[in-house]
């Protein structure tokens, strides 16, 4: 079977949006793809050793809320202090109870499967992200580094 290549650009740093890049990468690796992930802007949060990701109901009308709150709860109410922490806690409980892997677990599965992870150097400089806060298994690079992989790849996704 000929080897296929996948690249994913991960740009989002919230708990919910951490899932698509890691689920697709780990699965593709299991199917025999060579996978390269490029993390830029808020996506760099996904490379932190300490993954403290949150999900916000604010400005997210598609997010299901308990007791049908998404139907009647005033939009401004989702901006109340503590709402984000509450929704993040509830989301984490739901994730666990439904047998969905944690983000850290999926990231580890990707690393075990030799998924290549590249952190965007420009973002690191821009936001003064400390190298020691990021996991050790990554390389750093820029747009040209991304295209070096993307140009040879069968599938390129921007998430």
């Amino acid at each position: 079977m000929s080897e296929k290549n996948l690249t994913i650009i991960a740009t989002k740093g919230t708990l919910d949006w951490a899932y698509p890049p890691f689920i697709l990468s780990s699965t593709a690796a299991a199917l025999g793809y060579n996978v390269t992930m490029f993390f830029t802007f808020y996506g760099l949060q996904l490379l932190k050793k300490d993954l403290s990701l949150s999900v916000s109901p604010l400005g997210n009308p598609g997010m299901p809320m308990p007791m049908g709150m998404d139907k009647w709860f005033p939009v401004l109410g989702t901006a109340i202090p503590g709402m984000q922490a509450m929704m993040t806690g509830m989301m984490k409980n739901t994730i666990k109870s439904k047998g969905v892997a944690s983000v850290a677990e999926l990231r580890n599965l990707c690393l075990e499967a030799d998924v290549k992870m590249i952190g965007c150097q420009m973002t690191i400089d821009l936001f003064d992200i400390k190298h020691e806060d990021l996991i050790d298994e990554i390389d750093l690079g820029g747009a040209a580094t991304y295209f070096e992989h993307a140009g040879e790849s069968d599938i390129n996704l921007f998430i």
């Binding site: 079977m1 689920i23 699965t27 439904k98 047998g99 969905v100 892997a101 599965l109």
Partner: protein, 76 residues
Amino acid sequence: MSEFNQELDARGLNCPLPILRAKKTLNAMGAGEVLKIIATDPGSVKDFEAFATQTGNELMASSEDNGEFHFLLKKA
């Protein structure tokens, strides 16, 4: 169901964990050996078909029993 060399209990696990665990287990098995997987994720039925097609490991059997899904994968 016919004979198998190893069994993987993927009950209660959701996408993509059953596939990932199966892949990991297959890695440690020899060619021609058969892995039995038990899962509860309904999505795993289509996913194991797709996994077999793309990896060349043969899906010998796929069946449902009381909300549990049973698969037999033969390592290529």
